[in-house]
């Protein structure tokens, strides 16, 4: 009998094995469709649960079979069909450069990914977990699914937030803040901000790092990647959370070996006031930061601002009158601008105060904030995406489940490996 070790010796380096998890509706399929259409994708075997959900331009498809779809970009999409072992075995036969597995919406992605830490035919890649910005906070309070969603997020090397721009600004900040605090060891970015080439480069970097003997001990999934001492509820003025940059395990040498490895996601947070003009100037002088999305209290007027940067130019957009942080604390109380879980049965019309209906037009990196009416407190004017009134929104009980930005800044940064540590950035921004 041929042992695995012998079989592997005969083959090329084992492919990195990555998993994409996230609860139903979080956007896994959308992200996978983007991978299959990504022109710069290397030879990925993409294992999906349901072929029926794969929707890519027919022009991008090379050949379609019963169990596989060959893409022109070199990816092969394979159906898992309820038998993951068989699907992985079939994928290995194709000698792919990467294997990317879609975990089912209720699966624990870390338990799937663990196979690569054992199997000599696979190298550990990364665990990507999608979080639906519109549903997440409701999911985490739903007795049926909260533990599942939380376990998925805990397994993440990299949390990808989907549908963030569809949320009202306060909710955006709250979701990012909650994820950054509860999962300080995970990289954090939005699905819109990252390209598959970046993600796969991060996979390569991670796999290379994990293959390097010296790094074995740093691979403990339980160990925060950086010493941020980010006690979840601590808001000391100078605290910054360094969100487990994917390069934190890697060396410059093996990043340079990979063309697209220049990808880092970090979370920047401080409760101390930040001079936003200094931030704008900082971005201009730091091309290592590719994108920024954040929220801050502008010391100039005490109001909440939306921060967006693509490249060196920072757009600072005021929120409309009446939506300052000062009244966020009151208007949020019990407003139930809840978000329907799973998109089903969201026929409740109670309690919504328009808090969600105001989401059109935010984002696209151009700073255009088309916030609609968000002042209809008490009007019960439909609003809610669903769920309404069942405790999904902030209940104003001060238990910290809706961490509004009351001061300082919260931002997520995308950059390259030269991106300075958040603490260093913050020092540069804080008035002396």
């Amino acid at each position: 009998m041929k042992t695995m070790a012998q079989a592997v010796q005969a083959a090329a380096a084992p492919p990195p094995f990555s998993v994409i998890g996230g609860f139903l509706g979080a956007g896994k399929t959308t992200l996978l469709n983007r991978l299959l259409a990504e022109p710069r994708a290397p030879r990925c075997a993409v294992l999906v649960n349901d072929f029926g959900d794969i929707a890519v331009d027919a022009a991008l498809i090379d050949a379609r079979g019963g169990e596989t779809i060959a893409m022109q970009n070199g990816c092969i999409c394979c159906s898992i069909g309820g038998d993951l072992a068989r699907a992985i075995a079939a994928a290995l036969d194709l000698a792919p450069a990467h294997i990317v597995v879609e975990a089912s919406g209720v699966a624990h992605p870390g338990r799937i990914a663990a196979v690569a830490r054992v199997s000599p035919e696979l190298r550990p890649g990364r665990v990507f977990v999608l979080a639906d910005a519109g549903a997440l906070r409701a999911q985490l309070q739903d007795a049926w699914i909260a533990d599942t969603v939380a376990a998925q997020l805990r397994a993440a090397d990299h949390i990808l937030v989907s549908k963030l721009d569809a949320q009202p600004p306060r909710e955006q900040a709250a979701v990012i803040d909650q994820l950054a605090r509860e999962h300080p060891a995970a990289a954090l970015s939005t699905t819109d901000e990252v390209q598959w080439a970046d993600l796969l480069a991060a996979v390569d970097a991670r796999a290379d790092a994990d293959t390097a003997p010296a790094d074995v001990d740093s691979d403990s999934p339980d160990a925060p990647a950086t010493a941020t001492a980010a006690a979840p509820d601590s808001h000391s003025p100078d605290m910054a959370t360094d969100a487990a940059a994917p390069d934190s395990h890697t060396t410059a040498a093996n990043i340079d070996a990979v063309p697209h490895a220049r990808f880092v996601a970090r979370t920047l947070r401080a409760d101390a006031p930040i001079d936003l003009r200094r931030l704008a100037a900082y971005l201009k002088s730091h091309p290592d930061i590719y994108r920024l999305k954040g929220w801050a209290i502008d010391p100039a007027d005490g109001k909440l601002k939306l921060l967006q940067a693509a490249g060196p130019r920072l757009a600072i957009t005021p929120y409309p009158a009446g939506n300052t942080v000062a009244d966020a604390d009151t208007t949020d109380a019990g407003d139930g601008d809840g978000v329907g879980c799973d998109g089903g049965d969201s026929d409740s019309d109670g309690g919504g105060d328009g808090g969600v209906g105001d989401s059109n037009g935010i984002g696209d990196g151009d700073g255009g904030v088309g916030v609609g009416d968000s002042s209809g407190d008490g009007g019960g004017d439909s609003g809610g995406v669903g769920g309404g009134g069942d405790g999904v929104g902030d209940d104003g009980d001060g238990d910290g489940d809706h961490p509004a930005i009351t001061t300082g800044i919260l931002a997520i940064l995308i950059g390259n490996q030269n991106l300075p540590p958040p603490a260093q950035i913050l020092r540069a921004l804080t008035p002396d």
């Binding site: 624990h108 196979v115 054992v118 376990a151 799973d342 089903g344």
Partner: protein, 543 residues
């Protein structure tokens, strides 16, 4: 009556039919019951002749196993090495391996008969019965060079020897969740879950002993049923791909195939629309021994696997279990298939899973009414349903099929390790269910536990654990109630109560012949009653 009618006399006939609860004679013609009653039947139908075949036996309606899997037949492709003795489908008893020494000895015998390159696979191992678990070292004593892989009785875990660990590349330096280790941190050979099991089967080969496409496996399943006294069984989770349907249709139609089978279509990987279409198309293949059309939805895992969805966390404090699909999707599947009139068997082990299901069905039934033709959805296992949930189920016109065998096989573990002493004795609440007005069935879930409806009835009547402990005494039911729960009750869950489940005129002549009367022996002896054979549609076969 024509001369093809035969009148059988039995020591006693327990009919499960209120009009004639007990009888001594039954007239059979054309594969069906013509009449049931006393000696007068001989004159009326037998030309004064009586067939004495059952003269010293007690007849009951043919037992109905409402929750089993045809895998019970397929699995015997591998040798059985479990703790308890088990009856091979061919009739011989395979002794249990009740000690580590006996297990190692059995495995050595099996190993000696294998060709040089083969892996030794076996199934039925259950570590809970061994204080000192047979682990890697014990299996190394079987063979140092040849991989040895034992599938646990739950089929989710394996225990392997060093050769198998080495082949898979598992060692103390890459231990992950699911790779169990000894006190020194070395993998001890027990492996759970996909990530740990995959590398082993990838390296040593997957014996694929649980496919559903093996005609000989299906025949073995039929024989296992017959020996247990079962004349109708479910096959409660089957993808029913076309070749499997063709095979089932052909094999069950064989004259000597000894059981009626009710497969339920698995919804795995199917959309509600696909499920509805297949459920409507499948009955075209039905005949007297094959009844397609029902659907099986699995919502959660198992309690002993800590994967049933429970409202109160397991006493190890970890988690509430695992959904098999997102709750919203599970509920949508139930609502949409119900709206289309599809009959559902719904696997609910934990009480949160039954809650989710009751919510969905309540909604669906309110909107669309009950199913046509008296069919009713069935909550399968329903192990943790409490009085309130059972009342809701009764109010909705649902049925429950309780996993009575769990009381014996895992009752001790449920008390000590899974849901704890507060809830464990309340599990499989047959008394509460009956008092709520539910018609219940009880089941074995073969191959998870062995087929044997009398044993299942014994469990429900006595509620003793494997260690002999009483386990929720107040949920015990009577022998008569238990007999109904292995005959007419499950017939009802399978929508065949108009044809099977009791001994009444017009029904199939399906009987189980016993060497004693389960209603009259001391309750603790019900499991000792021997099955002498079965009659299926008038055709007799000794056990």
């Amino acid at each position: 009556m024509n001369d093809s009618t035969t009148v059988y006399q039995a020591r006693r006939i327990l009919t499960m039919d209120a009009a004639t609860p007990e009888a001594t004679h039954v007239a059979v013609g054309g594969g069906r019951i013509v009449a049931v009653g006393g000696a007068e039947l001989a004159q009326r139908y037998g030309g004064d002749n009586v067939d004495p075949l059952f003269a010293d036996m007690v007849l009951t309606p043919g037992f109905v196993e409402g929750h089993a899997h045809s895998m019970e037949g397929m699995i015997w492709k591998l040798p059985y090495i479990g703790f308890h003795a088990r009856i091979h489908p061919d009739g011989h008893q395979v002794d249990g391996c009740a000690t580590v020494a006996a297990l190692v000895q059995r495995l050595r015998e099996l190993e000696a008969a294998l060709p040089a390159d083969a892996t030794l696979f076996a199934w039925g191992y259950d570590p809970i019965y061994f204080p000192d678990k047979p682990m890697r070292g014990d299996l190394d004593a079987v063979s140092a060079a040849r991989p040895v892989v034992l599938f646990h009785s739950n089929l989710h875990l394996i225990t392997v020897n060093s050769a198998a660990l080495n082949a898979a590349g598992i060692h103390r330096g890459n231990v992950i969740d699911g790779v169990y280790v000894d006190a020194d941190g070395e993998p001890n050979g027990e492996l759970a879950e996909f990530a740990a099991v995959f590398p082993v089967l990838r390296a040593v080969g997957d014996p694929v002993f649980h496919g559903q496409d093996d005609p000989e496996g299906l025949r073995r399943f039929g024989r296992s049923c017959q020996r247990a006294g079962i004349t109708t069984t479910s096959d409660l989770y089957n993808a029913l791909e076309q070749p499997v349907v063709d095979m089932f249709a052909a094999v069950t139609a064989e004259a000597d195939f000894p059981a009626r089978i009710v497969p339920a279509l698995s919804t795995l990987n199917l959309s509600p629309a696909e499920v509805i279409a297949r459920s409507e198309a499948l009955p075209a293949r039905n005949h007297d021994k094959l009844h397609l059309g029902a659907v099986k939805i699995i919502t959660d895992g198992s309690i002993q696997g800590y994967s049933a969805r429970v409202r109160r966390p397991y006493i190890n404090g970890v988690e509430n279990g695992v959904w098999c699909d997102a709750p919203a999707k599970l509920q949508a599947m139930m609502r949409e298939t119900h709206a289309a009139g599809v009959k559902l068997h719904i696997h609910v082990n934990g009480d949160q899973a039954s809650e989710l299901t009751l919510d969905a069905l309540e909604d669906a039934i309110a909107k669309h009414g009950a199913l046509a033709r008296g069919r009713r959805h069935v909550l399968q296992h329903a192990q943790m349903m409490d009085a309130a949930q059972l009342q809701r189920a009764a109010g909705l016109g649902l049925l429950v099929n309780l996993f009575a065998n769990h009381t014996y096989y895992w009752g001790d573990q449920h008390r000590d390790a899974t849901v704890g002493p507060d809830l464990a004795p309340r599990m499989n609440a047959a008394r509460t269910a009956l008092d709520a007005g539910l018609d219940i069935a009880i089941h074995c879930d073969a191959p998870v536990t062995p087929m044997g409806p009398l044993f299942t009835a014994w469990c429900a009547v006595n509620r003793r654990t494997a260690s002999g402990r009483e386990h929720g005494r107040d949920e015990c039911i009577t022998a008569a109630e238990a007999l109904r729960a292995i005959t007419l009750g499950p017939a009802n869950t399978l929508d065949l109560d108009d044809r099977i489940g009791s001994i009444a005129p017009g029904k199939f002549a399906d009987f189980t012949a016993l060497d004693d009367d389960p209603l009259r022996v001391p309750p603790m002896r019900i499991r000792d009653i021997k099955v002498r054979g079965t009659m299926l549609g008038g055709r007799w076969q000794g056990a």
